[in-house]
Amino acid sequence: MDADPENEPTYPMKNYTGDDHNRINYERSEQQPQSVEILMSNERPVITRVFGTSVPPSGLSGKIRRYAFQHSEDRYRHWLPLIFADRVNVFEGLVDDIKAGKFPNIIKERGLAMEWKYNKPGMIKKGVTLAVLGLVLFAILRKKK
């Protein structure tokens, strides 16, 4: 008896119609045919009617992603393995490039020419810092040997 229809804090972002109470029972479009592997959240019962098909899971990173999707979006076991898979995927990408006869131009890919053009002092400072750290590390390792 205390329900107030004016008490709608989601207005105007949400136009409340009561449709939420129909839950997942609503009209749907046709199902997009699935021709590649699509990893699906275990928080939904069926795949969406439309989905992206870019870069299906493959290789070691794909195995890690399949493991991640066994766990819900609530779990670190879902997200940390996906980040780890992303890093593994970078190495897989390098191997694929070399296998295809392409040696990546890391300087071009990282846009370093732009950095040099507009931030020379910053780049020089970074370069010197990395060189010093490298020398210190080399000296420590040499001493240990």
Partner: protein, 383 residues
């Protein structure tokens, strides 16, 4: 076709790839005429978003010309010039029916927490994005909107994300006449939120950031007060002082997960990845807003969670309103604002770069070089 290709954190290249195809009867294929780099694309570029796969094409802000339509597409026809909202929305699920086009339940099988978004990793549906010459656009009768003939294409492309997100940031703040509004972040979204805040009648609009050229731009474009938090011992104390020790009526977070300003947040979130990035700006928003105030969040945060003063949210009775912008819901109003001259989105664009030089464009935007505010990529005109 030429397309942006992600190779790993901070590594991007433009290369030839296969043309997109119609995969669903409600798809369209769009030939891209303008595409932007968003501040949230930088989270992908920096490797912060889980399930960002090598070989993906980014880009969720684009306009183009309809090249091909699926058999069930009725509203669009080949040759139409369209702006495409960054949300992929079916128009039929219970969320779309209630205007929540950014929360569609039938466009992303990989995560229930976010609807489908063009070019925003597999966490947002695995769709290749618009930083390419052509792009597949699902549910073509729902999102894509024909650009009015008199509209400048540079204004149109900013209506796909920047303007609706900035506007909705202000709208969610529930700004009343006479309010003091504080916006964290002087990137394109923050600057647009500051500009749009004035539509709701506040008495003060304040923007906080740490980059002087962006604060200067915001002062001129959005006619707001602008302050550098690096000049402050404590931004929260500064904001309390400037609001008569009461706190702001509304605080808006337009920064998201790569905020600067707090060592613990930066180390735990951006270095160690023990939380989903650094939530410094949101922490300041919670602590700077008055008791009973509203915090509006459009800054992008990835999964799984962040360290925040949730106790202060409870004790101060703060209302938090947050969402991805529902572009389709807002477009009629925003198109009217642009056509009437009340808003000039293209004023944010500082750099126009050919798509072939996408790796340079990302570096320019990421490192904030050459006073960059907003970068538009332009595919070759050879067609």
């Amino acid at each position: 076709m030429l397309a942006m290709n992600y190779r790993g954190p901070y590594r991007i290249r433009a290369e030839q790839r296969a043309m997109p195809e119609i995969l669903h009867p409600e798809d369209a294929i769009i030939r891209v005429t303008r595409t932007c780099i968003c501040g949230s694309d930088l989270h992908l570029y920096h490797g912060m978003v889980p399930d960002t796969r090598v070989g993906s094409t980014f880009g969720h802000e684009f306009t183009g010309i309809v090249e091909e339509v699926g058999p069930l597409v009725q509203k669009l026809k080949v040759g139409d010039q369209v702006l495409v909202p960054f949300n992929i929305a079916c128009g039929k699920c219970n969320f779309c029916k209630q205007g929540l086009f950014g929360n569609c339940h039938e466009s992303n099988p990989m995560a229930t927490a976010v609807g489908g978004i063009f070019g925003y990793s597999h966490t947002a549906g695995g769709f290749d994005g618009g930083q390419a010459e052509y792009v597949r656009v699902p549910y073509a009768d729902v999102g894509p909107t024909v650009i009015p003939a008199e509209m400048d294409p540079d204004d149109a492309v900013l209506l796909t994300d920047v303007v609706p997100t900035g506007y909705q940031a202000a709208e969610m703040g529930g700004i009343k006449e006479g309010d003091t509004v504080v916006i964290f972040g002087a990137g394109p979204i923050g600057i647009m939120a500051a500009r749009c805040a004035w539509f709701f009648g506040p008495s003060r609009v304040i923007i906080i950031d740490h980059i002087d050229y962006r604060l200067e731009f915001a002062k001129n474009y959005a006619k707001c007060e602008a302050y550098n938090f690096k000049d402050m011992a404590d931004p929260v104390v500064f904001l309390k002082k400037t609001t008569d020790w009461y706190g702001a009526d509304v605080c808006i977070d337009c920064v998201g997960c790569e905020a600067e300003g707090n060592t613990l947040q930066t180390f735990s979130g951006r270095v160690m990845l023990m939380q989903a990035g650094a939530a410094t700006a949101l922490q300041w928003a919670i602590n700077s807003v008055k008791k009973g105030g509203i915090v509006s969040i459009v800054g992008v945060y990835g999964p799984p969670f962040n360290l925040l003063a949730i106790g202060n949210v409870v004790n101060k009775g703060i209302t938090i309103r947050a969402n991805q912008a529902s572009v389709k819901r807002l477009l009629p109003k925003l198109i009217d604002h642009v056509m009437s001259g009340r808003l000039s989105p293209k004023g944010l664009i500082t750099h126009r770069i050919p798509l072939e030089e996408v790796s340079d464009a990302y570096r320019l935007f990421s490192s904030k070089l050459d006073n960059c505010i907003k970068t538009v990529l332009i595919p070759s005109a050879k067609h």
